[in-house]
Amino acid sequence: MVKDLSIQELEKRFQEKIDKDIKIEPNDWMPDDYRQTLIRQISQHAHSEIVGMLPEGNWITRAPNLRRKAVLLAKVQDEAGHGLYLYSAAETLGADREETIDDLHSGKAKYSSIFNYPTLSWADMGAIGWLVDGAAIMNQVPLCRCSYGPYARAMVRVCKEESFHQRQGFEIMAHLAQGSPEQKAMAQDALNRFWWPALMMFGPNDAESKHTLQSMNWKIKRHTNDELRQQFVDVTIPQAEMIGLTIPDKDLIFNELTGHYEFGEINWDEFWNVVKGNGPCNKDRIDTRKKAKEDGAWVREAALAFADKRQKRKSA
C-alpha cells in the first residue's frame, strides 16, 4: 500500500502525525533527511556521553574519600549507560554503532565541546555535575517529548539520572564553598573555568544556528539555543548566590521588567575554535578513545571467535 503513495503524500502524512504528537517508530516511513538528522543528533549525543566519561574519570582514582569515590564511579558508569541507550536508539534508525564510533575517531562526528576542557581540581567534579549535567538537562528534558519514539524514551531514562548528577555536583560545590579558604578558592576557580564553556553548550546564537527551524518542525528540537541558554542562566545564578560563589561575568544584571538575567557576550571565537578541534583537550580525548578501541581489538576478536566456536560446537 505504501508503494502506491507518492513521496509528497507520504511526507504530508508524516508531518500530520508529528503535528498531532503521534510518535514516529522505527518501522514507520520517514523522510530520509529526518532519519539522517536524527542519526547525527543521537550519535553526537551518544559520543558526548562516552567522551564525557574521560574528564571525570580523570579524578576517580584521586577522589578525596570513600563516599565521593563511589558516587563518582557510579556517575561515570551512568554516563556509559547513557551512551549505550543512545547508540541503541541510533541503531533503530539503521546506524551501525562501530561505524558511528569510527566517525567520532576520524573527526567527522562531533561531541559536546565542554569535554575538551581539562579537569584540574577536585572541584571540577562539582562544577561538571552542577553546570554540565545541569545544562544537559535543559537540553534534554524537552527531548523526552521529541517525535522519534526510541529517542524520546531513552531521554526519559537519561534525564532522571542527569538530574541526580546535577544535584550531586551542586552538593560537592556547596560543600566546598562552605569549607576551608582553600576549598572555597578551589570551587570558585572551577566555576570560573566552567561557566562560559557551560553557556556554550547550548550552541551558537539562534541567528547563526542552521538546523533549528527544520528540527523544530520535526519536533526533534523543541526550544531554540538562546531560549534554553536563558533558562539555564536564570536557574543557575540563584544557585551560585545561595552557596556564595560569584559568576565570572561583570556584565551580569537582573532585569526586573523581564524577570530574566542579562549576561555578557560569549566568546564565540573560543567556541568555534574548540568545535574545530583546537580546545585544550580535543586531541587527548580522541586519542584516548582511539587507543581504547585499538587496545581492545584483540579482545573483541577473541569474543567473536569464541562465540563462533561455541555456535559450531552446538550445531555439530
Binding site: 566519561m53 574519570g57 582514582t61 570513600l66 556509559a80 549505550l84 577473541a302
Partner: protein
C-alpha cells in the same frame, strides 16, 4: 582493642580497596562499553565492601580514626593487602586474570567467613559473597573466552596467567593473626580453602585451554606490610587529596 581482629578486618578491607582502586583506572578505557560498565560495577562493589570493613575496623579501634582515615592516611607498610591486587592492570587479559584468581579465592573465603562468630563480619561476608559470585562468573567467562578465543588471545592470557601465578600462594598466607583468632571466632582456615580454590581454578583453566604454570616460585609479604613497588604509586595517587589538604571534609 583487639589488635589481631583489627588487622584481620583491615586485610580484607585493603584487598577490596586496592583492587577497587586498580579497576577504577579502567573507567573510560575498556575494550567495549559493556566492559566499562562491568568493571566499574565490580570496582563499586569492592569500594563498598572496603567502606563497610573500614567502618567496622574503626569501631574495633575505638573510633580514633574513621573509615576514610584508615583508607587514605596510613603508610604503605601498614597496608595488609595481597601483592596480587596491587599488580598493574596491564592489558584487559591481565586485569581479568588477576580478577579471576582473586575471585576464585574470595568466594570460598566469604562462604566460610559467614559462619564466623562475629556478627558484623558475618553480615559483611554475606553481602560480599553475593557480589563475589557475580564477579567470579564474569571473570571466569572472560578467562574462558580469551583462552579459547583466537591464537593471539590464547597466548596473551596464558602470559597473564604465567606472570600472575607467583602471587597466588599468598592468598592462603597465615600468620600470628590467624593463629590467635581462628578458634575463638571460627574464622576460615585458609589452607583448607586452597583445595577448593585450586579445583575451581583448574576447572576454568581447563575449559579455557590454558595450562597451569609449572614455575612454582611464590612471593609473599603483602599481609605483613611488605609490598611491591606498585603500592607506593597507588597510594600517592589515592591519598593525594587527603595529604595535600589535611583535616578537611569533602
Amino acid at each position: 582493642m583487639n589488635k589481631e581482629l583489627f588487622e584481620y578486618v583491615i586485610r580484607i578491607a585493603d584487598d577490596s580497596l586496592i583492587l577497587g582502586q586498580r579497576l577504577s583506572e579502567w573507567c573510560g578505557h575498556g575494550p567495549i562499553l559493556e566492559e566499562d560498565i562491568a568493571l566499574t560495577n565490580i570496582a563499586l562493589d569492592l569500594i563498598g565492601q572496603a567502606t563497610n570493613l573500614f567502618e567496622y575496623a574503626s569501631q574495633i579501634e575505638g573510633g580514633d580514626r574513621n573509615a576514610d582515615q584508615l583508607a587514605f592516611l596510613r603508610f604503605d607498610r601498614e597496608y595488609r593487602n595481597l601483592l596480587l591486587v596491587e599488580q598493574p592492570n596491564g592489558d584487559f587479559g591481565d586485569t581479568l586474570m588477576r580478577q579471576f584468581l582473586f575471585d576464585a579465592f574470595r568466594k570460598p573465603f566469604f562462604e566460610r567467613l559467614i559462619a564466623c562468630t562475629d556478627l558484623q563480619i558475618s553480615g559483611i561476608a554475606e553481602k560480599s559473597l553475593k557480589e563475589t559470585k557475580y564477579h567470579l562468573k564474569h571473570s571466569s567467562e572472560w578467562v574462558i573466552r580469551l583462552g579459547d578465543g583466537t591464537e593471539e588471545s590464547h597466548n596473551r592470557i596464558q602470559n597473564s596467567l604465567d606472570s600472575l601465578w607467583r602471587y597466588t600462594d599468598e592468598l592462603f598466607f597465615e600468620n600470628q593473626v590467624d593463629a590467635v583468632l581462628l578458634d575463638d571466632f571460627n574464622f576460615p582456615k585458609l589452607s583448607e580453602i586452597k583445595e577448593d580454590w585450586l579445583k575451581n581454578v583448574e576447572l576454568v583453566l581447563d575449559e579455557a585451554t590454558l595450562a597451569v604454570p609449572d614455575n612454582n616460585w611464590q612471593f609473599k609479604g603483602g599481609r605483613e606490610g611488605l609490598h611491591s613497588e606498585h603500592l607506593g604509586k597507588i597510594l600517592a595517587e589515592m591519598q593525594f587529596m587527603q595529604r595535600a589538604y589535611p583535616n578537611m571534609e569533602w
